[in-house]
Every structure is written in C-alpha cells, then in structure tokens.
C-alpha cells in the first residue's frame, strides 16, 4: 500500500488516522474487486474529508491513495498506472515476496517523483 499527499500539523495523530482509514477501506476494496475487471477502482471510501482511491493488480495487490483535498480524478488513474509499472519491476525479482516490504530506494524515489508530477 502506498500513502501519498497527506498533510497535517499534528503529524502523529494524522498519521495514525490515515493508516486506520486506509485499512478500514480495504473491506470496501474486497467487495469491489468482484464487480469489475478494471484494475483502477476509483473512489472506494470516504471518511470526513479523507478520500481513499484504490487500484488492484491482477494478483490482488492493492495500491491505496489517501487524499484530504480535492484533486483531479483523471490524474489518479495515470498515477496508479505509473506506480503499477514500477511495482511490476520490483515484484518480478525472484527474491521478492508479497509479505516483504519494498525497501528499494530507487523505487521510493520514482514513486515520489510520480506523485509530485501528477499532484503538484
């Protein structure tokens, strides 16, 4: 799961809430995956001013995007597509498993670059 675009003065509280909201939204993702063959599920859950968007890969890996401001929905699709391409390269590594966190620094850098370019 990837977290992008969150902002808040009380960093700790905000971080806990964001993580909670994203995990809670996974239940909605579980239901939505069987309704469409699209990987991009668009908006799956809202909590106050927080919106969660989801993208599910063919093998069931979920990308979640949490945002607290209004953003162009068309950019989200492109962002997810770019992250998907990056993630594919990481997951093809025979030593990578779905349970291990991705620690590749280049991956982290490229995802952040994507976020900056699609959500200025």
């Amino acid at each position: 799961t990837r977290n992008g675009g969150s902002s808040g003065a009380k960093k700790d509280d905000a971080a806990h809430l964001h993580q909670f909201v994203m995990h809670a939204s996974l239940d909605f993702v579980d239901a939505r995956v069987w309704e469409t063959t699209n990987m991009h599920l668009r908006l799956v859950d809202k909590f106050n001013d927080l919106s969660v968007y989801a993208f599910v890969t063919a093998g069931g890996t979920r990308f979640l995007l949490l945002h607290d401001q209004r953003i162009e929905e068309s950019n989200i699709g492109v962002f997810f597509h770019d992250v998907h391409e990056l993630w594919l390269r990481v997951s093809m590594n025979p030593f990578h498993t779905k349970r291990t966190p991705i620690l590749d620094k280049t991956f982290d850098l490229r995802v952040r670059e994507c976020a900056k370019s699609h959500f200025p």
């Binding site: 995956v33 063959t37 699209n38 990987m39 063919a58 594919l88 490229r110």
Partner: protein
C-alpha cells in the same frame, strides 16, 4: 527507460526499477532449461523424505513463476484487465500462460465435476526429458507446471488444489500430462453469486 540508458552511458548500472519490462519475445534454449530443471529435481530429491514432498517442492517452485506470470501477462497481453470469473482465468491459463511459457496453447481444457477442471498437454516440456526410476514410483515432475497453475489461480482469487498426472493416449507412445484443478468451495459459491 530513458533514464536507464542515460545511466548506462555514464557507466552506472541502472536500478531494476528504471529498466524497461521485457517484451516477452525472448526465448531460452530447451537444453538450457532442461538442464536447469533436472538440477532442480535432483536438488530436491536429495532433500525430500518422500515422493509427495518432492512433488510439493517442485510445485512450490512453480508457484513463484505462476504468480509473476499472472502479473506480467495481465499487464502485457490483457491491457490491465483482471479476471473475475472462473472461465476467464481458465482461458487465461490455457492460452496466455501456456503460450508464454511453452510456446503453444494447452491441448485441452475439460470439466470433470462442478469443482474439478482438467488442463491437458500432450507433451509437457518439463516431463519430456525426465525418466522416472522405479524407486520413485508415481513421481510426476509436471508438479512444477501444476505449481505454476496453482500460483496463478491462488493470486487471482480462485484457490485450488492442483496436481499433475499421466493419462495414456491411444496412438501416442508417451502419455499426455493432465493438470487437475480442484477448486475451493468459496470459488464455486462466488461463481454462483456472480451469475451463470
């Protein structure tokens, strides 16, 4: 990809994240693969305490391949479409996965019971150059291919018990390899819910 070329010009090795995904048109020599596969079988043979455990190890090796095949082929050949119906994922394995791994689509796909489907291949590559000695009795190295199928089905959300077995064919000297898929009840329930 542009970034990768720029880095190479500077003499740095680009991270795997920057290299383009392979187009899938490359091929590996059959002898190289057969050698590698035979080494894999021999490696596990010395460490497994039973035939079942040996087949289990081969199957596990295949699962990693299947899992990755599902992701890459969905992206490369199915323009990022996920399969949500049983028929869809079976066709995907029958056609896309088999063609990518073995250069041809599987020979047959049949239904045995509500929850059992069988994929057939007249001459499975992993079995073609394997001869099983008497003391290994029932061993079928097609367990590797069964593992590939199992990995695809599991990750796509259609968990199943998958095994490989031989079936004699009239008029053919070597038996064909059948891959039996027995689906978990939750798969059938969901299929019923989503409609015939």
């Amino acid at each position: 990809a542009r970034r990768a070329r720029a880095m190479q010009r500077q003499g740095q090795t680009p991270s795997i994240v920057d290299r383009p995904l392979p187009k899938g048109r490359s091929e590996v020599s059959l002898s190289a693969f057969s050698f590698l596969f035979s080494e894999l079988v021999q490696y596990h043979r010395t460490r497994a305490s039973s035939i079942a455990e040996l087949e289990q190890k081969l199957s596990e090796a295949g699962e990693g391949v299947g899992s990755r095949m599902l992701e890459v082929l969905a992206h490369r050949e199915k323009s990022n479409r996920r399969e949500i119906r049983l028929q869809g994922i079976l066709q995907f394995i029958n056609t896309n996965v088999w063609r990518c791994l073995f250069g041809k689509v599987a020979d047959s796909l049949e239904i045995y019971n509500d929850d059992e489907y069988v994929l057939g291949d007249k001459s499975l590559v992993v079995n073609r150059y394997i001869s099983v000695p008497k003391d290994l009795g029932d061993l079928n190295c097609g367990a590797f291919a069964a593992g590939v199928v199992k990995g695809v089905l599991r990750d796509a959300g259609f968990p199943a018990e998958v095994s490989a077995y031989y079936a004699e064919v009239d008029g053919q000297r070597t038996p064909k390899t059948n891959i039996l898929m027995k689906f978990a009840p939750e798969v059938l329930e969901r299929e019923k819910r989503l409609g015939a």
